[in-house]
Symmetry: C2
Subunit: 178 residues, 2 copies
Amino acid sequence: MGEITTIAEGRYLGLYERDDWEFAERPNAEGVVGILALTARKEVILVEQFRRPMNASVIEIPAGLIGDEEEHRDESLPDTARRELLEETGYQAESMELLLSSPTSAGMTSEITHLFLATNLQKVAAGGGVGGEDIRVHHVPLKLLPAWLSEQKDRGLLIDSKIHASLWLAGQCDHGLQ
Amino acid sequence: MGEITTIAEGRYLGLYERDDWEFAERPNAEGVVGILALTARKEVILVEQFRRPMNASVIEIPAGLIGDEEEHRDESLPDTARRELLEETGYQAESMELLLSSPTSAGMTSEITHLFLATNLQKVAAGGGVGGEDIRVHHVPLKLLPAWLSEQKDRGLLIDSKIHASLWLAGQCDHGLQ
């Protein structure tokens, strides 16, 4: 009861089974951080990148894996969130607050996604990602967000629901009606 | 370029690769529907079930796979959402509105989760799930939701962020501050 067996393991993702239920897990990581970054001028900082599983570009909050790089193995969760935000967007966050630790997709994977709110931001680098990442950074005024996301959808991009989840959790809901 | 190779396939979940990127996919399904169900009295209908990948119970919006059962193969997306809501909670929804089709987890899987808003609800059956599902149904007044979710977390349950995402998308944000 409860024992995990390995069906197959790739380099980055594995297929496992517990009590007759198959699920995926990243063998080299301990979860994911996602960061809702809000500037003093009430802009949301979003990233756009081509996602090979989707075979499409996706608009998302900045995010990254926990514990997948040897040199960052002992980081705290907020520090991982700070580093990922900086790498992807060039923003340093003074305040990094945990909003929710949610299953990434409870029926498919054992992974947890930790959603953070980043505020008191300072632009200190170019952003764009590391190690082959090709990330475009967008600054979107919160009050224009529904219209802007709708435009992105119309030009063929996918929109990730962690944007909306973290906005609700952060109480940034004045413009929730689409 | 773009070709998919199979690393391994279980009965319900497979491990694939495209352009050197590994991802998971359910070979017998075409995505997921998730349903935010709101009663006339502004209650949110949530489900609680033990999720084997997480090895824990999780509070979620009702949800289900698309196209995984032969007899429902030709259903529309809203009809799949209606059926899953009925099976899990016993509620029939007159109105079923698509809020967003989001990647389930863009770096890990090719799957799309379609989030719906269900209103004009009528209780017509017991709910609780089908085929071995063991689902507990909760009716939570929207204005008490943050406090209620916090209580569930305190008793060891995990909270799924699709709850918050669909509330934002549905404009149900008056009580977003935790």
